[in-house]
Protein backbone atom coordinates (compact mmCIF):
# COMPACT_ATOMS: atom_id res chain seq x y z
CA UNK A 1 0.00 0.00 0.00
CA UNK A 2 1.23 3.49 -0.80
CA UNK A 3 2.14 5.79 2.06
CA UNK A 4 0.19 9.03 2.43
CA UNK A 5 2.93 11.19 0.93
CA UNK A 6 3.43 8.87 -2.01
CA UNK A 7 -0.30 8.71 -2.59
CA UNK A 8 -0.60 12.51 -2.61
CA UNK A 9 2.44 12.84 -4.86
CA UNK A 10 0.94 10.30 -7.26
CA UNK A 11 -2.35 12.12 -7.17
CA UNK A 12 -0.88 15.49 -8.06
CA UNK A 13 1.39 13.91 -10.67
CA UNK A 14 -1.70 12.51 -12.33
CA UNK A 15 -3.40 15.90 -12.02
CA UNK A 16 -0.51 17.64 -13.70
CA UNK A 17 -0.35 14.96 -16.41
CA UNK A 18 -4.02 15.33 -17.21
CA UNK A 19 -3.95 19.10 -17.22
CA UNK A 20 -0.78 19.13 -19.31
CA UNK A 21 -2.67 17.18 -21.99
CA UNK A 22 -4.91 20.16 -22.55
CA UNK A 23 -2.47 22.33 -24.56
CA UNK A 24 -1.85 19.38 -26.91
CA UNK A 25 -5.53 19.04 -27.65
CA UNK A 26 -5.86 22.80 -27.85
CA UNK A 27 -3.02 23.05 -30.35
CA UNK A 28 -4.50 20.27 -32.44
CA UNK A 29 -7.75 22.16 -32.54
CA UNK A 30 -6.00 25.42 -33.26
CA UNK A 31 -4.87 23.92 -36.56
CA UNK A 32 -8.32 22.68 -37.34
CA UNK A 33 -9.75 26.08 -36.57
CA UNK A 34 -7.31 27.84 -38.93
CA UNK A 35 -8.23 25.58 -41.82
CA UNK A 36 -11.93 26.25 -41.39
CA UNK A 37 -11.75 29.83 -40.20
CA UNK A 38 -14.03 31.07 -42.92
CA UNK A 39 -16.84 28.70 -41.90
CA UNK A 40 -16.65 29.09 -38.11
CA UNK A 41 -18.20 32.20 -36.60
CA UNK A 42 -16.14 34.18 -34.15
CA UNK A 43 -17.45 32.58 -31.03
CA UNK A 44 -14.50 33.56 -28.84
CA UNK A 45 -15.88 36.99 -28.20
CA UNK A 46 -19.45 36.00 -27.59
CA UNK A 47 -20.98 36.52 -24.21
CA UNK A 48 -20.94 33.30 -22.19
CA UNK A 49 -24.52 32.10 -21.98
CA UNK A 50 -25.79 30.46 -18.84
CA UNK A 51 -26.51 26.94 -19.88
CA UNK A 52 -27.34 24.47 -17.12
CA UNK A 53 -27.45 20.69 -17.08
CA UNK A 54 -29.03 18.50 -14.44
CA UNK A 55 -28.55 14.78 -14.45
CA UNK A 56 -28.53 11.54 -12.55
CA UNK A 57 -25.96 8.79 -12.49
CA UNK A 58 -27.77 5.73 -13.78
CA UNK A 59 -24.81 3.45 -13.12
CA UNK A 60 -25.51 3.88 -9.40
CA UNK A 61 -29.02 2.56 -9.92
CA UNK A 62 -27.53 -0.52 -11.53
CA UNK A 63 -24.96 -1.08 -8.80
CA UNK A 64 -27.59 -0.52 -6.11
CA UNK A 65 -29.63 -3.24 -7.76
CA UNK A 66 -26.68 -5.64 -8.06
CA UNK A 67 -25.01 -5.01 -4.73
CA UNK A 68 -26.82 -6.30 -1.68
CA UNK A 69 -24.76 -4.35 0.84
CA UNK A 70 -25.37 -0.78 -0.29
CA UNK A 71 -27.84 1.50 -2.02
CA UNK A 72 -26.71 4.77 -3.48
CA UNK A 73 -27.81 7.59 -5.76
CA UNK A 74 -25.86 10.49 -7.26
CA UNK A 75 -26.76 13.53 -9.31
CA UNK A 76 -24.90 16.38 -10.94
CA UNK A 77 -25.62 19.96 -11.88
CA UNK A 78 -23.23 21.90 -14.06
CA UNK A 79 -23.18 25.35 -15.61
CA UNK A 80 -20.91 26.87 -18.19
CA UNK A 81 -18.71 29.48 -16.53
CA UNK A 82 -16.31 30.29 -19.36
CA UNK A 83 -15.98 29.23 -22.96
CA UNK A 84 -14.18 26.02 -22.01
CA UNK A 85 -14.90 25.75 -18.32
CA UNK A 86 -17.91 24.36 -16.51
CA UNK A 87 -18.62 24.52 -12.82
CA UNK A 88 -20.09 21.31 -11.43
CA UNK A 89 -21.79 20.33 -8.22
CA UNK A 90 -22.43 16.69 -7.45
CA UNK A 91 -24.37 15.30 -4.57
CA UNK A 92 -25.78 12.04 -3.41
CA UNK A 93 -26.29 9.65 -0.56
CA UNK A 94 -25.62 6.04 0.32
CA UNK A 95 -26.89 3.55 2.80
CA UNK A 96 -24.46 0.71 3.36
CA UNK A 97 -24.27 -2.25 5.66
CA UNK A 98 -21.57 -4.69 6.56
CA UNK A 99 -22.68 -8.08 7.78
CA UNK A 100 -20.08 -10.73 8.43
CA UNK A 101 -19.57 -13.31 11.16
CA UNK A 102 -17.31 -10.84 12.92
CA UNK A 103 -18.92 -7.46 12.33
CA UNK A 104 -22.37 -6.03 11.73
CA UNK A 105 -22.97 -2.32 11.27
CA UNK A 106 -24.70 0.15 9.03
CA UNK A 107 -23.68 3.56 7.76
CA UNK A 108 -25.41 6.40 5.98
CA UNK A 109 -23.72 9.26 4.26
CA UNK A 110 -24.52 12.26 2.12
CA UNK A 111 -21.92 14.02 0.04
CA UNK A 112 -21.37 17.17 -1.98
CA UNK A 113 -18.48 17.76 -4.34
CA UNK A 114 -17.70 20.90 -6.28
CA UNK A 115 -15.13 21.76 -8.91
CA UNK A 116 -14.46 22.76 -12.48
CA UNK A 117 -14.57 20.73 -15.68
CA UNK A 118 -12.43 21.88 -18.58
CA UNK A 119 -13.37 20.92 -22.10
CA UNK A 120 -10.62 19.56 -24.33
CA UNK A 121 -11.93 20.61 -27.72
CA UNK A 122 -13.14 23.92 -29.09
CA UNK A 123 -16.73 24.29 -30.14
CA UNK A 124 -17.38 23.41 -33.75
CA UNK A 125 -20.43 25.66 -34.04
CA UNK A 126 -22.43 27.93 -31.73
CA UNK A 127 -24.43 25.85 -29.35
CA UNK A 128 -22.06 22.90 -29.61
CA UNK A 129 -21.84 21.49 -26.10
CA UNK A 130 -20.60 17.96 -26.75
CA UNK A 131 -17.08 17.58 -25.52
CA UNK A 132 -14.44 15.63 -23.68
CA UNK A 133 -13.61 16.96 -20.25
CA UNK A 134 -11.12 16.76 -17.47
CA UNK A 135 -11.94 18.10 -14.07
CA UNK A 136 -11.12 18.30 -10.44
CA UNK A 137 -13.38 18.08 -7.41
CA UNK A 138 -13.30 18.71 -3.73
CA UNK A 139 -15.70 16.33 -2.07
CA UNK A 140 -17.00 16.25 1.46
CA UNK A 141 -19.25 13.82 3.19
CA UNK A 142 -21.06 13.49 6.48
CA UNK A 143 -21.11 9.92 7.65
CA UNK A 144 -23.31 8.41 10.35
CA UNK A 145 -22.54 4.98 11.69
CA UNK A 146 -25.05 3.09 13.81
CA UNK A 147 -24.06 0.84 16.73
CA UNK A 148 -21.67 -1.84 15.56
CA UNK A 149 -21.84 -5.40 16.88
CA UNK A 150 -18.71 -7.50 16.89
CA UNK A 151 -17.92 -11.13 17.65
CA UNK A 152 -14.48 -12.53 18.31
CA UNK A 153 -14.41 -16.25 17.74
CA UNK A 154 -12.27 -18.05 20.29
CA UNK A 155 -12.68 -21.78 20.70
CA UNK A 156 -10.24 -21.89 23.63
CA UNK A 157 -11.44 -19.21 26.04
CA UNK A 158 -14.90 -18.69 24.59
CA UNK A 159 -16.34 -16.25 22.08
CA UNK A 160 -16.54 -12.58 22.92
CA UNK A 161 -19.27 -10.24 21.75
CA UNK A 162 -19.56 -6.52 22.16
CA UNK A 163 -20.91 -3.30 20.81
CA UNK A 164 -19.20 -0.13 19.62
CA UNK A 165 -21.45 2.92 20.09
CA UNK A 166 -22.73 4.88 17.11
CA UNK A 167 -20.84 7.90 15.87
CA UNK A 168 -20.83 10.47 13.11
CA UNK A 169 -17.92 12.16 11.42
CA UNK A 170 -16.87 14.28 8.48
CA UNK A 171 -14.54 13.16 5.74
CA UNK A 172 -13.29 14.92 2.63
CA UNK A 173 -11.29 14.12 -0.47
CA UNK A 174 -9.99 15.49 -3.73
CA UNK A 175 -10.45 13.84 -7.07
CA UNK A 176 -9.59 14.03 -10.74
CA UNK A 177 -11.99 13.01 -13.44
CA UNK A 178 -12.02 12.65 -17.17
CA UNK A 179 -14.81 11.72 -19.54
CA UNK A 180 -17.14 12.60 -22.39
CA UNK A 181 -20.49 14.30 -22.75
CA UNK A 182 -22.58 13.68 -25.87
CA UNK A 183 -25.82 15.37 -26.82
CA UNK A 184 -27.89 12.38 -27.85
CA UNK A 185 -30.99 14.47 -28.45
CA UNK A 186 -31.61 18.18 -28.26
CA UNK A 187 -30.87 19.16 -24.64
CA UNK A 188 -30.49 15.52 -23.57
CA UNK A 189 -26.97 14.43 -22.77
CA UNK A 190 -25.31 11.14 -21.97
CA UNK A 191 -21.77 10.80 -20.75
CA UNK A 192 -19.39 8.85 -18.67
CA UNK A 193 -16.34 9.66 -16.65
CA UNK A 194 -13.73 7.91 -14.60
CA UNK A 195 -12.51 9.28 -11.32
CA UNK A 196 -9.45 8.93 -9.15
CA UNK A 197 -9.90 10.06 -5.57
CA UNK A 198 -7.65 10.54 -2.59
CA UNK A 199 -9.06 10.76 0.92
CA UNK A 200 -7.66 13.69 2.88
CA UNK A 201 -8.49 12.45 6.38
CA UNK A 202 -8.19 8.69 6.16
CA UNK A 203 -7.54 8.59 9.91
CA UNK A 204 -11.27 9.06 10.48
CA UNK A 205 -11.92 5.86 8.58
CA UNK A 206 -9.39 3.66 10.34
CA UNK A 207 -11.97 2.06 12.60
CA UNK A 208 -15.20 0.59 11.22
CA UNK A 209 -15.00 2.25 7.80
CA UNK A 210 -18.25 2.47 5.83
CA UNK A 211 -18.73 -0.34 3.34
CA UNK A 212 -19.49 2.36 0.79
CA UNK A 213 -19.24 6.15 0.85
CA UNK A 214 -21.37 7.87 -1.77
CA UNK A 215 -19.16 9.98 -4.01
CA UNK A 216 -16.03 8.14 -2.90
CA UNK A 217 -16.36 4.36 -2.85
CA UNK A 218 -15.04 1.87 -0.34
CA UNK A 219 -14.26 3.66 2.91
CA UNK A 220 -11.45 1.26 3.77
CA UNK A 221 -9.01 2.56 1.16
CA UNK A 222 -7.05 5.84 1.07
CA UNK A 223 -7.56 6.08 -2.69
CA UNK A 224 -10.34 4.90 -4.93
CA UNK A 225 -11.21 4.59 -8.58
CA UNK A 226 -14.76 5.20 -9.66
CA UNK A 227 -16.98 6.00 -12.57
CA UNK A 228 -20.26 7.68 -13.42
CA UNK A 229 -22.63 7.34 -16.27
CA UNK A 230 -24.76 10.45 -16.34
CA UNK A 231 -27.93 11.14 -18.23
CA UNK A 232 -28.56 14.88 -18.16
CA UNK A 233 -31.06 17.42 -19.27
CA UNK A 234 -29.88 20.86 -20.32
CA UNK A 235 -31.66 24.17 -20.33
CA UNK A 236 -30.84 27.84 -20.72
CA UNK A 237 -29.31 29.87 -23.51
CA UNK A 238 -26.73 27.97 -25.51
Amino acid sequence: MLSGNKMLFGFFFLAMSLLSCYPVFAQANEGAKDSTRSRIPKIEKEKIPGYYRVGVDISKWVTSFIQSNYKTAEMQIDRRLRQNVYGAIEMGYAHASLTTEKLQYQTKNAFVSVGPDKTLFNRLFPGDIENAMVGMRYGMSWVQRADAQYTIADSIWGNTQGMVPSTSFFCHWIELNAGFRLEVKKNVFAGWNIRFRGMLNQQKLKELPPAYIAGYGSGEKPTSLGYNFYVMYGFGRR
Partner: protein
Protein backbone atom coordinates in the same frame (compact mmCIF):
# COMPACT_ATOMS: atom_id res chain seq x y z
CA UNK B 1 -19.62 -8.95 -18.44
CA UNK B 2 -20.97 -5.48 -17.81
CA UNK B 3 -22.54 -6.68 -14.57
CA UNK B 4 -19.21 -7.98 -13.37
CA UNK B 5 -17.70 -4.59 -14.23
CA UNK B 6 -20.25 -2.81 -12.07
CA UNK B 7 -19.64 -5.14 -9.16
CA UNK B 8 -15.93 -5.75 -9.56
CA UNK B 9 -14.82 -2.88 -7.35
CA UNK B 10 -16.54 -4.19 -4.24
CA UNK B 11 -15.21 -7.74 -3.99
CA UNK B 12 -15.23 -8.96 -0.40
CA UNK B 13 -11.81 -9.39 1.13
CA UNK B 14 -10.75 -12.16 3.45
CA UNK B 15 -9.17 -12.03 6.87
CA UNK B 16 -5.55 -13.12 6.69
CA UNK B 17 -4.85 -12.41 10.35
CA UNK B 18 -6.45 -15.42 11.99
CA UNK B 19 -4.31 -15.65 15.12
CA UNK B 20 -5.34 -14.27 18.48
CA UNK B 21 -2.64 -12.39 20.41
CA UNK B 22 -0.44 -14.74 22.40
CA UNK B 23 1.19 -14.65 25.78
CA UNK B 24 4.78 -15.90 25.45
CA UNK B 25 7.13 -17.01 28.17
CA UNK B 26 10.58 -18.46 28.67
CA UNK B 27 12.09 -20.67 31.34
CA UNK B 28 15.09 -19.92 33.50
CA UNK B 29 16.75 -21.06 36.69
CA UNK B 30 18.96 -19.39 39.26
CA UNK B 31 22.61 -20.40 39.14
CA UNK B 32 25.00 -20.60 42.10
CA UNK B 33 25.69 -16.88 41.85
CA UNK B 34 22.01 -16.00 41.98
CA UNK B 35 21.83 -15.05 38.31
CA UNK B 36 19.14 -16.13 35.89
CA UNK B 37 20.11 -18.67 33.30
CA UNK B 38 17.83 -19.64 30.45
CA UNK B 39 16.95 -23.28 30.56
CA UNK B 40 15.19 -26.01 28.67
CA UNK B 41 12.52 -28.23 30.19
CA UNK B 42 12.32 -31.83 29.05
CA UNK B 43 8.61 -32.38 29.34
CA UNK B 44 6.63 -29.38 30.62
CA UNK B 45 2.89 -28.94 30.20
CA UNK B 46 0.49 -26.01 30.39
CA UNK B 47 -3.24 -26.32 30.86
CA UNK B 48 -5.42 -23.34 29.98
CA UNK B 49 -8.72 -22.38 28.38
CA UNK B 50 -12.22 -21.53 29.56
CA UNK B 51 -12.46 -24.71 31.65
CA UNK B 52 -8.79 -25.51 31.78
CA UNK B 53 -9.35 -28.17 29.18
CA UNK B 54 -6.63 -27.24 26.70
CA UNK B 55 -3.24 -28.79 27.21
CA UNK B 56 -0.02 -27.98 25.47
CA UNK B 57 3.11 -29.98 26.04
CA UNK B 58 6.23 -29.34 24.00
CA UNK B 59 9.22 -31.50 24.83
CA UNK B 60 12.62 -29.89 25.20
CA UNK B 61 11.19 -26.39 25.02
CA UNK B 62 12.55 -23.04 26.18
CA UNK B 63 9.11 -21.59 26.84
CA UNK B 64 5.50 -21.59 25.70
CA UNK B 65 2.97 -19.41 23.94
CA UNK B 66 -0.76 -19.49 24.54
CA UNK B 67 -3.55 -17.24 23.25
CA UNK B 68 -4.93 -14.79 25.77
CA UNK B 69 -8.67 -14.63 26.44
CA UNK B 70 -10.49 -11.86 24.60
CA UNK B 71 -11.73 -9.03 26.78
CA UNK B 72 -11.21 -10.71 30.17
CA UNK B 73 -9.51 -9.03 33.13
CA UNK B 74 -7.92 -12.17 34.48
CA UNK B 75 -7.30 -15.77 33.57
CA UNK B 76 -5.77 -18.88 35.05
CA UNK B 77 -3.21 -21.28 33.69
CA UNK B 78 -1.82 -24.47 35.22
CA UNK B 79 1.83 -25.26 34.79
CA UNK B 80 3.88 -28.37 35.36
CA UNK B 81 7.62 -28.54 34.84
CA UNK B 82 7.18 -32.23 34.13
CA UNK B 83 4.03 -33.75 32.76
CA UNK B 84 4.69 -36.89 34.78
CA UNK B 85 4.81 -34.93 38.02
CA UNK B 86 1.78 -34.55 40.27
CA UNK B 87 2.88 -31.06 41.28
CA UNK B 88 0.93 -28.37 39.49
CA UNK B 89 1.45 -24.64 39.85
CA UNK B 90 -1.56 -22.42 39.36
CA UNK B 91 -1.00 -18.93 37.92
CA UNK B 92 -3.57 -16.19 38.15
CA UNK B 93 -2.76 -13.47 35.62
CA UNK B 94 -4.45 -10.09 35.92
CA UNK B 95 -4.49 -7.85 32.89
CA UNK B 96 -6.18 -4.83 31.39
CA UNK B 97 -7.66 -5.71 27.99
CA UNK B 98 -8.11 -3.13 25.27
CA UNK B 99 -9.91 -3.41 21.96
CA UNK B 100 -8.12 -3.00 18.65
CA UNK B 101 -9.78 -2.78 15.24
CA UNK B 102 -7.92 -4.94 12.73
CA UNK B 103 -9.93 -4.63 9.50
CA UNK B 104 -13.41 -5.02 8.10
CA UNK B 105 -12.61 -8.64 7.32
CA UNK B 106 -10.98 -9.52 10.63
CA UNK B 107 -13.04 -7.34 12.96
CA UNK B 108 -11.67 -6.68 16.43
CA UNK B 109 -9.03 -8.24 18.65
CA UNK B 110 -8.38 -7.65 22.31
CA UNK B 111 -4.81 -6.94 23.28
CA UNK B 112 -3.89 -6.64 26.93
CA UNK B 113 -1.52 -5.02 29.37
CA UNK B 114 -0.37 -7.45 32.04
CA UNK B 115 -0.88 -6.07 35.55
CA UNK B 116 0.26 -8.84 37.87
CA UNK B 117 0.78 -12.56 38.20
CA UNK B 118 0.18 -14.54 41.36
CA UNK B 119 1.21 -18.19 41.51
CA UNK B 120 1.82 -21.18 43.73
CA UNK B 121 5.37 -22.18 44.55
CA UNK B 122 5.45 -25.94 44.08
CA UNK B 123 7.95 -25.87 41.25
CA UNK B 124 8.10 -22.17 40.51
CA UNK B 125 10.51 -19.89 42.28
CA UNK B 126 9.11 -16.74 40.69
CA UNK B 127 7.29 -15.43 37.65
CA UNK B 128 8.29 -12.05 36.30
CA UNK B 129 6.39 -9.82 33.92
CA UNK B 130 9.14 -8.89 31.46
CA UNK B 131 7.02 -7.15 28.81
CA UNK B 132 3.51 -6.23 29.91
CA UNK B 133 2.06 -5.48 26.47
CA UNK B 134 0.49 -8.47 24.78
CA UNK B 135 -0.23 -7.33 21.25
CA UNK B 136 0.49 -8.17 17.62
CA UNK B 137 4.25 -8.14 18.19
CA UNK B 138 5.24 -11.78 17.99
CA UNK B 139 8.86 -11.18 18.99
CA UNK B 140 8.15 -10.21 22.59
CA UNK B 141 8.30 -12.64 25.48
CA UNK B 142 6.08 -11.44 28.29
CA UNK B 143 6.72 -13.73 31.25
CA UNK B 144 9.86 -15.22 32.71
CA UNK B 145 9.33 -18.44 34.63
CA UNK B 146 12.07 -19.05 37.18
CA UNK B 147 12.03 -22.77 37.95
CA UNK B 148 13.14 -24.23 41.27
CA UNK B 149 16.05 -26.62 40.95
Amino acid sequence: MSLSFFSSCTQQSYCLDVLLPELRSYYSTLDANGKWVDTTLQNPSIRFGANGNYLTSIQNSHGFAIPIPQGQNSFTIYFRTDSASALVDTLQIVCEPYRQFISKSCGYRYYATLQSCTFTHHQLDSVLVVHPSVNADITLKHLQFVIRK
